[in-house]
């Protein structure tokens, strides 16, 4: 919302400077967006007299002028304007000045052999209007040597404020003046709202044609007929104000409606009455009806939109934009003025559907003052008569203003309890009254009637806000929240802690934590088990971000592809975040996932890098699980997993068939192909939500049991069928003596002719740690035999000869 200081002062009697007003606006909730004085950049443009204008010796269209810019010294300027003539008073820009209309910094030059030291400028060159017919031609008595901007009244700061959607009343300069006056920045002048006596009866009638019973989309319509008007350009003062706020002057009648829109937040419309057929009425549009609007476009309407129509059809889109057919022109002499109230919700939806942005829509959709319709018409009437002449009919009125007449009760103690400040009751009442509220009653609780221009005020808290806003938020003392406990107790749940532990465990293992989109392309969702319709966006921002992710991997894999394209040879990317298996809260699961791509490191003289493999990510998954407190010792590794992994290189870490904690493996080559990422690439996914939460956290540890006796190590090599999983051999061996066998591991897997087709030899090392004595050879032998027997029973393996 833009306005100028002088415009504001039409309604606000104040001595405050533009800066003081600007600061105050921000502090009462009308946030300053800009404060600029157009005169500042035009200051060097001075009023000058053309002492002599003679023909240019070498160019027919140019003139050589001797100009007096008030310094007493004549300056020679070459000028191309047709109206340059001896004795005229114009506006001169000396060398060094920036000309806003052309974007050029003026330099001294020679034009066709004649020196030129500056420029006589047009309005367009000063960006004051589009006028470029000739240079500015001022009255003879204009004071030579003074700044043109100051003389022309351009020294009028333009203030721009952001108005929150709850404050339609501040979409007019008058409403802003009211707020400022309440905040102590001056005195609000009363509205000049005296009605104009009608000279005749309007030949055009108005009516509301809506179904009975329903809330009427246009409940109040006020009109007035004018005859004998002449619609030339509006006066300079009006044009200047409109131009200052970025509204292009068109003609007096149009400018008047725009002026009142910005001055009072009250949009009006003018029809060329000669082009109106029959009476004017408000009704809902009929599906398929079309209208050519003032922007020159044709819009197709539907039955949810309000139109103002005559017997020929829609003449304007209610609250949004007028129609071209009945628009006023310079030839217009008969005018019909419309001041109507349009429902906010319907106006907004119409504007959105038709994609029309207009000053009228902007105001109606936020809620124009319903009590101001007739006043707006009267103010418009006076301006039309004043600027265009002619005479006005009596008002024609249909319907009535939809007034809410809200009265709220306010406990004067509420400001203290809600805002934490003591504001004297009389000051509270004073603020409310200055804003136009009525306050009745006395004592602790008063009845407050809400002014018609404040649709946003609906409860006691709103009144407290008004009082505090105007009184000054900055004056509320800062208070520290009382401490609830001497030492802060833990504030994170187990799951919340796990999120950060997972992130930091992985970072410690060399992963770069990433955050990728929660949505991904539909095809990628499908590759990772997602892509169901219920997890597809109805209105994605792009097809790349269309489906909720079923896994963290596609985002990481895609990122690793981009990184590899930029030359990254070794990558470990992780992410901790939600995946979406459904649209219910419990179907969002927190995952910690990671990918490794490329080699373990750069080439080195010390150790040859190797490609990352499945066992790197298996270690990652186990490390995360362990850090998060999962009972890793009880977990099994199953040689199976989701379809997006290589079927022979995938594992699932599970506590049981129903409780899968993590998967890891090499990505399926087909998936990488589809995603256009070069493999191999290994990955893991830990389902943080699947990890059991311990019932009670115990700080104390079990006592340390250590043996004083030497551990004994024995190696065994078993020949087993190729399909036998190593873990089965280890588990069987371990079962031979759970207490004695303290550690067990695989140190070699061998295949070859000596072993036989379809078989492999798995070599394991078993560590036995006795608790209370040194083991004898016989005892070791006995355990060894049990190990061999257990492995044979479980896997059919035989000791390799």
């Amino acid at each position: 919302m833009k306005f100028t200081l002088s415009w504001l002062k039409d309604y606000l009697e104040t001595d405050a400077s533009a800066e003081e007003i600007a600061d105050k606006l921000t502090m009462i909730g009308l946030e300053l967006e800009g404060l600029a004085n157009p005169a500042e950049k035009l200051a060097p443009f001075v009023i000058a007299k053309v002492l002599e204008a003679r023909a240019h010796p070498n160019a027919d269209r140019l003139r050589v002028c001797m100009v007096d810019p008030g310094t007493g010294e004549a300056v020679q300027v070459v000028c191309g304007a047709p109206n340059a003539r001896t004795g005229m008073v114009g506006v001169f820009a000396p060398v060094g000045v920036h000309v806003p209309g052309t974007g050029i910094d003026l330099k001294a030059g020679v034009i066709r052999g004649e020196a030129s030291h500056g420029m006589l400028v047009s309005e367009r060159e000063m960006m004051l209007s589009d006028d470029h017919e000739g240079i500015i031609d001022l009255p003879e008595d204009a004071p030579v040597g003074t700044s043109y901007a100051a003389w022309a009244g351009l020294d009028d700061p333009v203030i721009d404020v952001a108005v929150t959607p709850n404050r339609p009343d501040a979409l007019g300069v008058y409403g802003i003046a009211r707020d400022l006056a309440a905040a102590g920045m001056g005195r609000l002048k009363p509205l000049a709202e005296a009605p104009v006596e009608g000279a005749f009866k309007s030949p055009i009638g108005v009516s509301l044609r809506f179904e009975d019973g329903a809330e009427r989309p246009c409940p109040h319509f006020v009109g007035r007929y004018f005859r004998g008007v002449s619609n030339g350009p509006s006066p300079a003062w009006m044009q200047k104000r409109l131009r200052a706020i970025g509204v292009r002057p068109i003609s007096a009648l149009v400018d008047i409606t725009n002026y009142i829109t910005h001055a009072y937040g009250r949009p009006l419309h003018v029809f060329d009455a000669a082009k109106v057929k029959g009476d004017i009425h408000a009704r809902l549009a009929r599906r398929g009806e079309t209208i050519e609007a003032l922007d020159g476009r044709v819009y197709e309407l539907d039955e949810a939109m309000t139109v103002i129509a005559d017997e020929a059809g829609p003449e304007s889109i209610g609250g949004v934009m007028g129609g071209e057919a009945s628009g006023v022109t310079e030839e217009t002499t008969e005018v019909f003025l419309e001041a109507a109230y349009f429902d906010a919700v319907r106006t907004a939806s119409t504007g959105r559907k038709l994609n029309i942005i207009s000053d009228a829509r902007y105001r109606f959709e936020r809620g124009v003052d319903p009590a101001f319709t007739e006043t707006g018409a009267e103010i418009g009437t006076r301006l039309i008569l004043e600027l265009c002449g002619g005479e006005a009919s009596e008002l024609v009125v249909a319907g009535a203003p939809p007034l809410k007449n809200t009265t709220l009760s306010l406990r004067l103690s509420r400001v203290k309890s809600l805002a934490g400040v003591d504001i004297a009751p009389e000051s509270q009442v004073e603020v409310l009254e200055a804003l136009g509220f009525g306050v009745a009653g006395a004592g602790g609780e008063v009845a407050v009637s809400v002014p018609s221009w404040r649709p946003d005020i609906s409860g006691e808290a709103d009144l407290v806000e008004e009082i505090v806003r105007i009184w000054g938020l900055e004056k509320i003392d800062h208070v520290t929240l009382p401490r609830l406990e001497a030492v802060t107790s833990p504030k994170l749940s187990v799951k919340q802690r796990r999120r950060f532990r997972a992130a930091r465990t992985l970072a410690a293992r060399g992963f770069n934590e990433a955050v990728t989109w929660s949505f991904l392309p539909h095809e990628e969702a499908g590759l990772f088990g997602g892509g169901e319709e219920r997890l597809t966006l109805d209105n994605p921002i792009s097809t790349e971000l269309s489906d909720m992710r079923p896994s963290l991997l596609p985002g990481l894999i895609a990122a690793s592809g981009r990184n590899a394209d930029r030359g990254a040879e070794s990558q470990a990317l992780s992410e901790i975040g939600q995946i979406y298996l459904g649209d219910a809260p419990e179907e969002e699961r927190l995952h910690a996932s990671g990918i490794r791509h490329g080699a373990t490191g750069p080439r080195s003289s010390l150790a040859a890098p190797r490609p990352y493999d499945v066992f790197d990510v298996k270690a990652d998954a186990l490390a995360v699980l362990e850090a998060l407190g999962a009972p890793v010792g009880r977990a099994q590794v199953l040689a199976e997993g989701p379809a997006w992994y290589h079927p022979g290189r995938v594992g699932t870490i599970a506590l049981g068939p129903k409780n899968r904690l993590a998967v890891f493996g090499e990505m399926h080559p087909r998936i990488l192909d589809e995603m256009d990422v070069k493999g191999p690439l290994v990955a893991f996914e830990v389902d943080i939500d699947a990890i059991p939460v311990p019932k009670a956290q115990r700080a104390s540890r079990p006592a340390l049991a250590i043996s004083d006796y030497q551990p004994v190590r024995r190696d065994f090599a078993f020949v087993v069928e190729e399909e036998v999983a190593a873990e089965r051999i280890l588990r069987a061996a371990q079962s031979a003596d759970k207490n004695l066998i303290s550690q067990i591991g695989v140190f070699d897997v061998f295949r070859g002719a000596v072993i036989g087709e379809g078989k492999k030899s798995v070599a394991i090392e078993v560590t036995m740690t006795p608790e209370d004595r040194t083991l004898t050879e016989a005892e070791i032998e006995a355990v060894s035999e049990r190990i061999v027997a257990a492995v044979a029973k479980a896997t059919g393996g035989v000791l390799r000869a």
């Binding site: 921000t26 946030e31 906010a344 939806s349 959105r352 309890s417 809600l418 805002a419 934490g420 409860g459 808290a461 407290v464 806000e465 505090v468 806003r469 938020l473 509320i476 800062h478 208070v479 520290t480 929240l481 609830l484 802060t488 994170l492 749940s493 919340q496 950060f500 992130a503 930091r504 970072a507 293992r509 060399g510 992963f511 770069n512 934590e513 990433a514 955050v515 929660s518 949505f519 219920r534 997890l535 966006l537 109805d538 209105n539 909720m548 990481l556 990122a559 981009r562 470990a572 990317l573 901790i576 979406y580 649209d583 219910a584 809260p585 969002e588 373990t600 080195s604 003289s605 890098p609």
Partner: protein, 360 residues
């Protein structure tokens, strides 16, 4: 006399041989040749038995003295050789320590995660617990319960992401703010309530400072006495702690949000010094959050009595906080997982934010 001369000569020979021994083998040979079972000294010692007592009285001490001195010489030489061998070994084992070590991957924590934990650390100290809610929300939790009417522009498809309609025509919403957690918390918990709710949020927006997904943090205090003074005090305390400044210029401006009344936006003072943003002082203002007293409608929607309970709420962008504090220019880069960016702006695994140790 003869014998003594002979012993002197013998000792000279043996000692010379020991001194000349250049390695363990030669030294051992020298030992065997002298003190070994069949060594010259041993042989002579054996001959003592055959001597007369007088001869033995002279030869015994002489021979034993010789044996002891040879033993000593052997030890000395052995130590010398060991030292030499060690020196030679150390010389041969010399490495070029300027070679780069084996590569290790240095992991990093994403700035959003870091700031997430910083914010938790500060608010936890002020007694706030951490609450969470789903990203896929119902219309009620995301809009209705927060006093956002059906016709409100923020519900439009151009601002808010929706999932495909269900059979009944309703659409689930990707939450546009963390505020739904206010309602879920009030439903689940009796006052006094003090929570923050950090997490992902979604809006249909994309430019340098807006991305379709970002992170917010919500704050909510509900009890019977908390007022705007507490809100201002809490936000000031947070901002000072988070930006790690002793003095902080702040500005509280009246504003409007459907779910708070009165509402205010908060700016912090800042200035640009040589292309770098300095937070705390200066003539410019930077808007960092929206806040206000929880709207009575919202308290009621959360199942509580607004005549009895009141409190404040605020919301701010986590990614934006990270950008301001750590001078990260472009929001979009947060979600691109560019390794170069992650390594440059990331934090070490052990950089755990703590109020006691310091946040950054």
């Amino acid at each position: 006399m003869d014998q003594m001369t002979d012993l002197d000569a013998l000792e000279r020979d043996i000692t010379e041989r020991i001194h000349k021994a250049e390695d363990e083998t030669a030294l051992e040979e020298a030992r065997l040749a002298s003190l070994g079972k069949k060594g010259v000294v041993s042989e002579r010692l054996k001959s003592l038995g055959r001597m007369s007592p007088e001869e033995r009285q002279v030869a015994g001490p002489a021979l034993n003295g010789l044996k002891a001195r040879i033993g000593e010489a052997l030890e000395t030489r052995r130590a010398e050789l060991k030292e030499k061998a060690l020196e030679a070994r150390l010389k041969s084992e010399r490495l070029d320590v300027t070679l780069p070590p084996r590569a290790e991957q240095r992991g990093t924590i994403h700035p959003t995660t870091q700031v997430w934990q910083e914010v938790i650390a500060i608010f936890a100290d002020m007694g706030f617990s951490v609450a969470e809610g789903p990203h896929i929300e119902t219309d009620w939790y995301n809009f209705g319960a927060l006093n956002i009417p059906p016709e409100h522009p923020s519900r439009q498809d151009m601002d808010t992401f929706y999932l495909k309609p269900k059979a009944d025509g309703s659409r689930m919403v990707l939450r546009t703010h963390t505020s739904p957690v206010q309602i879920r918390t009030m439903e689940a918990q009796e006052p006094p309530i003090r929570i923050i709710a950090p997490g992902r949020t979604f809006r249909s927006d994309s430019d340098r400072t807006h991305t379709p997904m970002f992170h917010q943090i919500e704050g909510l205090v509900i009890d019977e006495t908390t007022h705007m003074g507490h809100l201002k005090g809490t936000l000031e305390a947070f901002c000072k702690a988070f930006f790690e400044v002793d003095e902080l210029k702040m500005r509280f401006r009246p504003s409007h949000f459907p779910f708070t009344e009165p509402s205010m936006e908060v700016d912090i003072g800042c200035q640009w010094v040589g292309g770098e943003l300095k937070i705390g002082q200066g003539d410019d203002w930077l808007e960092i959050l929206g806040s206000g007293m929880v709207h009575p409608y919202v308290i009621k929607a959360g199942g509580l009595d607004p005549e009895k309970y009141q409190g404040f709420a605020f919301g701010m962008g986590l990614d934006r906080l990270a950008m301001l504090k750590y001078g990260i220019p472009d929001l979009r880069a947060f979600f691109e997982a560019d390794l170069r960016w992650l390594r440059h702006y990331g934090f070490a695994a052990l950089d755990m934010p703590s109020v006691a140790e310091g946040l950054s």
